[in-house]
């Protein structure tokens, strides 16, 4: 039987607030962002562990601006720092500035000076600025105290990662967003066999989604067992499993 080819168009969830799984710990932050943080603070700093969703939220915030025909500069320093501080040139002309992965340049004087100037300029021009890093700004070992204190100009919020039982809820929610449901039996199977962290569970979901589309089959316990046996090397099972 010929396999059905999948279109990546169906998989695209985009960085929007509506595609962000909201835990009770992040509810207040989401409320502030959805209402527009610039109504409360001149700038906002999001911090938290890797995979907590900081980049998602920053890009979702940019999307708010795009939707209104406004321009936003999104600068993820993890990948952009290699181009030097020139990558920040011209961002002050945008309606919103979003600087992600600040950890990549902390401790480098030229970057700290450039970012300090950006903060000063955004503040002087009433230009909303949103920043994100893994580390809490209070714990960052910046070279310039002037820069360090400016990171706290406004408000800082921790983005709490999805943890423990929340991971399974998030997985079921994400499946629903993609247009299919995971039955109780399937969820129990996943809970029994896979570690409860978002990276693993999202990888499981992606495999199931693709396999189900390709084979044109419903996701049942038997189906998942079959798919996961084929992917046994790629997806780590729970210890002792």
């Amino acid at each position: 039987m010929k396999q059905q080819l999948t279109l990546n168009v169906g998989m695209r969830e985009g960085h929007r607030f509506s595609s962000f799984f909201v835990t009770p710990e992040n509810a207040e932050l989401l409320g502030i962002l959805k209402n527009g943080f610039e109504h409360e603070f001149p700038q906002i700093f999001l911090w938290g562990e890797a995979q907590a969703g900081k980049s998602h939220l920053l890009q979702a915030y940019c999307e708010r601006y795009y939707q209104r025909g406004l321009m936003a500069a999104y600068v993820p320093l993890g990948s952009c720092a290699q181009y030097g501080i020139r990558v920040l040139a011209g961002v002050e002309g945008k309606h919103l500035v979003a600087v992600d992965e600040l950890d990549a340049v902390i401790g480098q004087r030229d970057w700290e000076v450039a970012l300090m100037n950006l903060i000063n300029s955004c503040r002087a021009n009433h230009q909303p600025l949103i920043m994100a890093a893994r580390m809490n700004p209070r714990e960052m070992t910046c070279v310039l105290p002037d820069f360090s204190s400016r990171l706290l100009w406004g408000a800082d919020y921790r983005v709490h990662p999805v943890q423990g039982a929340q991971c399974l809820q998030a997985m079921a929610w994400r499946a629903h967003q993609r247009g299919f449901e995971l039955s109780e039996q399937v969820m129990k199977y996943i809970e029994r066999h896979y570690p409860q962290n978002m990276t693993t569970l999202m990888a499981v979901l992606d495999r199931l989604d693709t396999a189900s589309l390709t084979k044109g089959r419903k996701i049942t316990r038997e189906f998942i067992r079959e798919v996961m046996q084929k992917n046994a090397n790629a997806l780590p099972l729970k210890q002792g499993d």
Partner: protein
Amino acid sequence: MLWQQCLQQLEQEVPDSEINTWLRALHAVEKRQALYLLAPNTIVLQQVHEHYLPRILFHARILTGDNEFDVLLQIGSSVPAPPPVSPQPLTNQHQHPSPTPPAQPYSKAWNPTQPAPVSERFANALNPRMTFANFVEGKSNQLACAASQQVGDHADTTYNPLFIYGGVGLGKTHLMHAIGNRILEREPGARVIYVYAERFVNDMISAIRNSRMEEFKQHYRSLDALLIDDIQFFAGKDRSMEEFFHTFNALLEGQKRIILASDKFPRDLDGIEDRLKTRFNWGLTVQIESPDLETRVAILRKKAEDAGLRLPNDVSFFIGKRFHSNIRDLEGALQRVIASMRLKCITQVTMDFVQNALRDQLASQDKMVSMANIKKVVAQYYNIRITDMDAKSRNRSVARPRQIAMALSKELTNHSLPEIGDEFGGRDHTTVLHACRKVAELRESDPKLEEEFRILFRTLTS
């Protein structure tokens, strides 16, 4: 419109983060048979050119049905200025008493690339909201505030230059803006400019590049008052210091006011020419110190009142005690509380509510200023062993750092005297009390110890 359609097509081929980083950064201008894409800088231009241009061209030609259609990439921006009001909330359930005033972009003090009308060129970059009226005075900034008012009120002041120094986020910038605003209030036609040292340097570099150095010199040397913030950023920039030296002399000769701010006392500024340091001391040098608890509480109450909120005593003292490193952090804490109240439609603030609203910040602070960390930092500073903090020895070289560590523990943590005593080798709470009193006494009488205490305090709280 065409560009939006192209983007929709590209979204199917290019990851979101790349679209947002490189392609959304472009400003599109559609002209006859061509789409001009304006990049904010050379890096964006290069990336788009190397990785995405063929696909953009492909989609543009398909969408227009014109095989001759062209896409041109260039540096530039024709984006209009930010709109006066930021985007409306997606949900409109909360009516805020307008926390964000309508945006009024400040004009640039100096535009080295484009000649500007004289009136615009002397736009001052002053924030009209930073005045003496909303500057909270306390023991830590009294002298600096009085001197600033004197300079703002009198064109013939003897405090010229006025040099304000102190740690970050303590109100130097506020005082500078207040001086500038006061000068303009009394002399509406005065040419006053507030500028960061780094900005002065960048403008000078641009002026050199655009062969407009004479105009630059003329611009700065014809001012009635020049306010330069963060003067420490001149360090190592010889050409800028040279130019600033001549500007400084010209203004002083013309009896024009110069106000400077820095994080250090002039003599201690590294990388600044001696002849400049000497001149900085010709007028009056004043320090702004970290505000004491009472001043922090007064600042909080003032800010809360401005936001239409009345803070109960216990709440304002709690925030003031916990957020002590600088005023930016203190203000940030209050703003978070206010935002949380608005979101939850709460009108009365309580201790429980504040502790919950600030729980992540408080947890992070507790981690930084734990007694174990205080002992470690103080021991490292005085080059003694951490175990000496708990030892019985009364030798001065060990006992004094131990007393300082105890005093810092009392100041920076919420632990009681008996708890602090327990942590320091099981000492009695009266020993801790004696240590705190002794350190307070020495801080008044011994400038060296006072400086050491401040350094340790900053290290632990910044």
